[in-house]
């Protein structure tokens, strides 16, 4: 059978490989500035963020919230600047919510922006999208981004049920953040 040379079309990643810094590494939350990235698509995530912000504040953390949306049109550049400001005012970032393909990509990209600014960060996804988030973080240069999975489906739950999910997941969040007991 005839053989011959063919040219390989496959692309290779051009991103710089990064290393996610440890989060709190056994330290306390108090005195830390913790940022939570909201997403205008998911009201369930808004409720969870409110619950977690309250819990984090009770532990002495300063909590900053930033609401992300799709970056197209006139607001794209403004939102980039907002992300940059957000990242540079926090010690630690909580980035959500990966709850669809596109929003998982955008959540991971924003978390990677924080990681590249040397801000330890965790990505929050519903469990259906954890694998996608991990793969997208890898293709964006980070092999070891901490990811916390929430129940799926989440958006179909009542506000009361979602807030209960948040309360139940807070202990896991603390563990992912690395807070000392």
């Amino acid at each position: 059978m005839a053989t011959g040379l063919v040219l390989d079309p496959t692309g290779t990643s051009t991103v710089e490989i990064g290393e996610a810094r440890g989060l709190l590494e056994g330290a306390e939350l108090s005195s830390k500035s913790i940022g939570i990235r909201l997403d205008e698509r998911w009201r369930s995530w808004q409720w969870i963020a409110e619950e977690w912000a309250s819990q984090l504040s009770m532990r002495g953390a300063q909590v900053a919230l930033w609401r992300a949306g799709t970056r197209v049109g006139k607001r794209a550049d403004d939102m980039d600047r907002e992300l940059d400001d957000f990242v540079h005012q926090i010690d630690l970032g909580i980035f959500g919510l990966g709850n669809c393909g596109g929003c998982t990509m955008e959540t991971v990209r924003d978390a990677v922006a924080a990681l590249r600014a040397d801000v330890p960060s965790v990505v929050i996804c519903t469990r259906q999208f954890v694998s996608l988030a991990r793969n997208l973080a890898r293709t964006d240069g980070f092999l070891d981004v901490p990811i916390l999975g929430l129940p799926f489906p989440l958006e179909t739950l009542s506000e009361e049920a979602v807030r209960k999910v948040a309360q139940e997941a807070f202990e896991e969040l603390q563990a992912v953040l690395g807070e000392s007991a």
Binding site: M1, A2, T3, G4, L5, V6, L7, D8, P9, T10, G11, T12, S13, T14, V15, E40, R41, R43, G69, T70, R71, V72, G73, K74, R75, A76, C100, G101, G102, C103, T104, M105, E106, R109, Q128, F129, L132, N135, L136, T139, D140
Partner: protein, 347 residues
């Protein structure tokens, strides 16, 4: 030539297996991209092989002209399509196209290419009868080239970097068609978007939606039917749009309706879009109760208690294409999280 070369069997069946195993192909047979074949594609463009057209997500890989040429060779696209392919890839790199989300999403969105200018006939891209499938022409091979670029170069893989739930047939063949400018009573889509001459509009299309009307005597009635048809409850423009700039719908109108029915009664295309838009809405009360609050919170309910499917008439992108049998229009609902981009086709 900078791409790595690999020695393999060139027999069609053996190469098909090799291309699948190597992550190069979509499962359909491919033409082996030999250096000689690829050189023909590179010779057809004034661009340098190593020119980077963009860094494509999700892999964030450099998409060089050469890699496009390899994919075009595998797909059997015309060599003369190289400038179009390169320009289309560059258009997809525009911020507004949001390719990262397009390639990762659960949605079946695919970049559709709408061509304007003489390039349609030079490449043999259909714009008349059967232009979305069935007409002989270069559209499917050009569309497949784009899909192979997304797979092989960008690294879009179902179950790994793409969470696509269903996909759609156009994720293999793409959607590539021309506007039938010669039969349109209006300036072309690209001209209205500020680009004259050879041009390509890339649009994140969720698929094709047939709109049938066997009466269509009065323009106002026909445009109302089109408006009513595109505003279905589960479209992405309703469920995925949170900001006034998001949400677009392309509507392709056949040349008979465009010239013989609509333009004779309503000459201005802006008025045409306005009339479609005025009917493209649903009463808030028609949505299940638990779906209503987000529309209210986003300010999407008008003073009559209706929810327009897109925020203003400019979000309905009109084009003229299709056969002279009339009776049908075709809508392409947008992804919701990106915007159409129009660029000149340049060498």
């Amino acid at each position: 030539v900078r791409a790595a070369s690999v020695e393999t069997e060139l027999d069609p069946a053996a190469f098909a297996d090799f291309a699948v195993a190597s992550g190069w192909s979509d499962g359909l047979p491919c033409i082996p991209p030999t250096p000689e074949l690829v050189a023909g594609y590179l010779a057809a463009t004034g661009r340098a092989p190593e020119q980077v057209l963009g860094t494509l997500p999700p892999l964030f890989a450099d998409c060089t002209v050469e890699r496009v040429a390899i994919c075009a060779a595998m797909a059997g696209a015309p060599t003369a399509a190289m400038n179009l392919l390169c320009s289309a890839i560059e258009a997809m790199m525009a911020r507004d196209f949001n390719l990262a989300s397009v390639n990762a999403t659960t949605a079946p969105v695919v970049p559709a290419l709408i061509l304007n200018g003489g390039i349609r006939s030079r490449l043999g891209v259909a714009h008349g009868a059967g232009c979305l499938g069935g007409a002989l022409g270069a559209g499917p091979s050009i569309g497949r080239t784009i899909r192979l670029v997304m797979r092989a170069v960008a690294g879009q893989r179902i179950g790994y970097t793409s969470e696509s739930v269903f996909g759609q047939p156009a994720r293999i063949s793409g959607i590539v068609f021309g506007e039938w400018e010669e039969r349109s009573p209006w300036p072309s889509l690209a001209q209205r978007r500020g680009v004259s001459g050879d041009a390509v509009t890339v649009f994140g299309a969720m698929g094709t939606q047939n709109i049938c009307d066997t009466i269509a005597e009065r323009a106002t009635s026909l445009l109302k039917m089109i408006g009513l048809s595109i505003a279905y409850h589960g479209c992405n423009a309703y469920v995925a749009v949170n900001h006034e700039e998001e949400g677009e719908i392309v509507v392709a109108i056949n040349p008979i309706w465009a010239s013989e029915v609509i333009a004779k009664q309503i000459p201005s295309i802006d008025d045409v879009a306005q009339l479609i838009w005025e009917s493209a809405k649903q009463p808030l009360a028609s949505f299940p109760e638990d779906y209503r609050r987000p529309f209210e919170e986003l300010g999407r309910v008008d003073s009559d208690g209706n929810v327009p499917v897109v925020r203003h008439p400019g979000k309905i992108l009109l084009t003229v294409a299709g056969g002279e049998g009339a009776l049908h229009a075709m809508a392409f609902h947008g992804f919701g999280h990106n915007l159409a981009v129009t660029v000149p086709v340049s060498s």
